[in-house]
Symmetry: C2
């Protein structure tokens, strides 16, 4: 049993989602391009997706700093969409259409190994998203993409965005576990380092194509990570499932 | 499509769990009897289960009234277990054993129609427990019993026990829906009437054997309920799934 062989006593694996479980960039690009065809609008939709995503952290930071009261990610995506539409000089969308576009984030395609890997991990561990996405977003995404989560954790149940320590700490508490019994899985080293600070175990799964073919992947894994895996199926194997 | 034929626009079905989805009485009785055999203790274990369950509402009411701060159901079960052990003159359990007995509530058997019905309902609706049980309890119960929940809602995410209106209202908000798009499913009429007060749709599924063969079932359904079904498979059929 590799979990024990690694000196670990993990009972639950919790996952970063955008980039780690799903390919947000291809999915948002494709859905926006489809919308463009329907509306007769031509733009660089991959650039549109990248610009929209680039506003993710600044908007969350407004909540993390207290500039905004607690606001869930659907609402932040809706606010930042207005900016992106302006920057790409797209006008004439009514409120219902903007909401529909915001909900593109509920329909992101998993990486090919994600769902098979999650099914294997689920046989042995509690599996849950530990995302900054809200519960409705994660729930709808799982129904669209087939992720077999046992429960939905994340920023909204903590009312704290990652990488605030309260976000990870609340997940551990709601699982009824100790921090060392919970493994954070992410393609982003900062997320893992922040979770390790509150005592979680860490698994790094690089996703070199997250930002498209032209971007440099996250560099050499920090030596503190408990597991480094090529993908979710490899992660299951390394954890002995 | 029966959902529309009934004049309904339901997107999510949320469920009372103890009694409605699972047969808590037989499950607790069986696990306690097994423990009794191992420890060499003879008691009326069905009476033990009934007594333990009878302390559920008074302990929750201590939280609802503010006498206790927010305390999850695992912790309330642990507190009430001490009383039940005293009343049944059982002594000598250490803390780890009492915790193990408390966790019997994480392992309750679904009624025979529950899991098949949930799988059918899941193809069309978001399905989630809306229980006073905490997230860890519901998550572990689903892994033990095979309930394919899309997410875990309930008292703990609201920090309000049913039938407080905040408990149902928080579930609706976290689903990103309007109250009339959410159907509460329960074997207990009071639970349904409380959810209807905050605008939810209601489905009554009587479970006449919840309290064992000798107890009178909940009487004639209130005429305000949107659906009355014999079991979860019948509920799915009545909702057109």
């Amino acid at each position: 049993m590799a979990n024990e062989a690694l000196g670990l006593d993990v009972k639950a694996c919790i996952f970063d989602v955008f980039g780690t479980v799903v390919d947000w960039r291809s999915s948002i690009t494709a859905q926006c391009a489809n919308m463009g065809r329907i509306k007769g609008i031509e733009r660089d939709w991959a650039a549109f997706a990248d610009t929209w995503r680039s506003k993710y952290r600044p908007y969350m930071d407004k909540v993390r700093s207290g500039e905004l009261p607690w606001t869930n990610l659907d609402a932040l995506h809706r606010m930042s969409l207005d900016e992106v539409l302006d920057e790409f000089e797209i006008s004439g969308f009514d409120d219902a259409e903007k909401t529909a576009v915001t909900y593109f984030w509920h329909n992101l395609t998993p990486w090919p190994d994600s769902v098979p890997g999650l099914y294997r991990l689920k046989t042995r561990f509690v599996i849950a998203p530990m995302s900054n996405g809200n519960i409705a977003l994660m729930t709808n995404m799982a129904k669209n993409g087939g992720m077999p989560w046992d429960c939905i954790l994340g920023a909204e149940v903590a009312q704290h965005y990652k990488p605030d320590p309260e976000s990870y700490g609340t997940a551990v508490k709601l699982l009824g576990l100790q921090p060392e019994q919970v493994m954070m899985v992410a393609a982003h080293q900062g997320d893992l380092l922040a979770s390790a600070k509150v005592g979680l175990r860490t698994a790094f799964v690089p996703r070199p194509r997250e930002h498209g073919p032209d971007r440099t992947p996250d560099p050499t894994p920090d030596p503190s990570f408990n597991v480094v895996a090529d993908n979710f199926v490899d992660l299951a194997a390394k954890l002995g499932v």
